[in-house]
């Protein structure tokens, strides 16, 4: 299980995917965990394994239970039913101050009366380490987070991005088995957030710590995580790597939550190697290839991402060709999104990369256009 840092998820023979190895031992196991606050069920019979050195993201809207899961790992909440194991040991009876788990708080929770140095040293001092060890470790953390210049400052004397790094350094100082990050980048502006995401991944690789991050920002989860768990109402909807979550969502909920998508609802029928979805009167059925096995006549959905939809002036010779009218254009510089209205009022989004330096757009408002996508680009979903 212990591998060199360079072996983390990179293409090549040593792909980091312990969840696919049958004999890999998980670091954290949620076993049928339920957590209720009075009548409210925050976590509903949830089972999940998280492996050593993973950067695991819990993603979902507010109130989906992701923060509760994190607080149970930290020890601030105990499960109502079920067990949480850390390295095979039930952690329910262990108080937060004795867990090999540290947390980076959403508000950072830096101690305002202590300097940056003392904040980072706080946990080490409580462990009763000797002075030289503490000094060496704090200096190492300051170097790792590039805070050497600010060691003697108080938290209110540094910027938001620096506070974020102090909070990270403080929670990493004790070299926990597991680091929990609660919306760690929520308070930063967009540009700083993007830089910090890569910094976080870098630090995670360097230290080899297992990270569990809670976020409601799907881009953030997709960028940093080795695996993403999409949650809703206390349940895991899908747990998979970012590309699988994006390209093979298991439900309309996940497809809709992650990225942009157009969803067609209709009745499905098997036709040779693929399925046909009848979604509107007088419209050609949609063709989609899918490994799923669905009954004929069953209600189903086809989800299609805008970047997989092509837009043409003339009718292309292909399957899944629909006629429509451009009603809206979103020009983002690198790409343009076209909102195309199909007969009957249905909208579909199509994205074009602006690969030429041409300030005139190939399509404009009210243009009659054709959109199409290949039969492998749509995703057939049961629910």
């Amino acid at each position: 299980m212990t591998t060199a840092p360079a072996d983390r998820p990179r293409p090549g023979p040593a792909v980091f995917a312990p969840w696919d190895e049958p004999d890999a031992v998980p670091l954290i196991q949620f076993k049928n965990v339920t957590k209720r606050f009075g009548d409210f069920t925050a976590i509903d019979d949830l089972t999940l394994d998280i492996y050593t050195r993973e950067f695991f993201a819990l993603l979902g809207p507010s109130g989906c239970g992701k923060t509760t899961m994190m607080r149970m790992l930290a020890g601030f909440e105990t499960p109502t039913e079920g067990k949480i194991l850390l390295s095979g040991q039930d952690i329910a009876p262990i108080p937060p101050n004795q867990r090999a788990v540290n947390m980076m708080f959403q508000s950072y929770a830096l101690f305002p009366h202590l300097s940056v140095w003392e904040n980072i040293a706080f946990g080490l001092k409580r462990e009763g380490k000797d002075k030289d060890t503490i000094r060496a470790r704090v200096d190492e953390m300051l170097r790792l987070t590039r805070l050497e210049k600010f060691a003697s400052r108080k938290p209110h004397q540094i910027s938001g991005g620096q506070r974020q790094r102090v909070a990270l350094a403080r929670s990493l100082a004790k070299a926990p088995k597991l680091l929990l990050l609660d919306e760690p980048l929520g308070a930063l502006d967009k540009k700083l957030r993007e830089e910090t995401q890569f910094e976080l991944m870098d630090i995670q690789e360097k230290t080899g710590t297992t990270f569990v991050i809670v976020t409601h920002d799907q881009e953030e989860a997709m960028t940093v995580a080795s695996r993403v768990a999409v949650m809703d109402e206390g349940k895991l909807i899908q747990v998979a790597t970012p590309p699988v979550i994006y390209e093979q969502p298991n439900s309309v909920y996940v497809a809709d939550f992650i990225g942009d998508v157009t969803i067609f609802e209709g009745t499905v029928r098997k036709d040779g190697e693929h399925y046909r979805l009848d979604w509107a009167e007088g419209q050609p059925p949609l063709r989609v290839r899918s490994p799923a096995s669905l009954r004929d006549g069953q209600t189903a959905y086809v989800a299609i991402r805008p970047e997989k939809v092509e837009i043409h002036h003339n009718r292309p010779d292909d399957h899944n060709v629909l006629r429509g009218k451009v009603v809206d254009i979103g020009y983002l510089g690198n790409l343009s999104t076209y909102h195309v209205e199909l007969p009957g009022g249905r909208m579909i989004r199509a994205q074009n990369f602006n690969t030429e330096r041409d300030t005139r757009q190939p399509f404009t408002w009210e243009d009659e256009v054709w959109v199409n996508w290949t039969e492998t680009c749509g995703v057939l979903l049961e629910r």
Partner: protein
């Protein structure tokens, strides 16, 4: 310069006169050479000298200071604990009743507090003296402290305590190393409030004290009944002076801290751009 209109200046003058004229008169007359309080006979510091030689007053002053020190310290400890429990315990049955009971002494007439304490002390056979006054003052000052401290705790980010626990503190260590240093200003101002309340309390002290422990307010009040002496004026002027210096020092310290903090934050913003 509309701000200094005739109307504004007049109301300001009357307002301040209403507040401070009695005290100014008292201070002026404390330097009166005459034994008669209302007849001015030239400047003298004679009464201050006599005050320092008056054993009764000096004893009373010493008793008052001891009572104030002990009772305010005790009240601060108890009041802070009560505040922590009220804020942290969350919701439990009877919470409203419990918190109401902590704050009830604030609005209870002092006569009733004093009387009930007196009855209690007699009932359990406690000899009245400095100890009973300390207990009584602790009882009523404690709720003031808990009001001050709980208003600070209400805005305290509980994540700070959780962070301390997360970093290996026991709950008590988290309180001692993180919560207490952060709420210290509120605890100190609670202590100062309790100290002042104890210094100038007359009613409760009269009920709960015995012949062995006469506090300054009791001493002043009883000697007034024999006629206002210039010594009392001198004593009151001293008290006004002490309080004024304390208040001015406290506000200067607060202001300086705010200014330094603002400057440091600006400096930080410049560095980080």
């Amino acid at each position: 310069m509309r701000r200094f209109s005739w109307f504004n200046v007049t109301s300001l003058t009357f307002g301040f006169a209403f507040l401070y004229l009695p005290m100014v008169l008292l201070v002026i007359y404390s330097f009166n050479a005459s034994k008669l309080v209302t007849v001015w006979a030239g400047f003298s510091t004679r009464w201050y000298g006599e005050l320092l030689r008056d054993e009764q007053f000096m004893d009373a002053a010493w008793v008052t200071i001891r009572v104030a020190l002990f009772s305010s310290t005790l009240a601060t400890v108890l009041g802070t604990l009560a505040a922590v429990v009220m804020i942290r315990a969350g919701r439990f049955p009877g919470r409203t009743l419990f918190s109401g009971m902590i704050y009830a002494p604030l609005v209870m007439p002092e006569v009733i507090t004093g009387l009930s304490l007196l009855l209690l002390f007699i009932g359990i056979g406690l000899d009245r003296g400095i100890f009973t006054v300390v207990l009584a003052h602790t009882t009523f000052a404690m709720c003031y402290v808990s009001v001050v401290v709980s208003s600070r705790l209400a805005t305290f980010d509980t994540a700070l305590e959780e962070a301390a626990l997360d970093l290996g503190c026991s709950p008590f260590e988290a309180f001692r190393l993180v919560t207490l240093p952060i709420i210290a200003p509120a605890v100190i101002s609670g202590w100062l409030l309790a100290f002042t309340l104890s210094l100038d309390d007359l009613v409760i002290a009269s009920f709960t004290t015995g012949p062995s422990a006469t506090t300054l307010p009791i001493q002043i009040f009883s000697s007034i009944r024999l006629g206002v002496s210039p010594q009392i004026n001198a004593l009151s002027s001293l008290l006004i002076g002490v309080v004024a210096i304390g208040v001015i020092a406290a506000s200067l310290a607060t202001k300086r801290r705010a200014v330094t903090q603002a400057r440091e934050e600006q400096a930080a913003a410049r560095v980080t751009g």
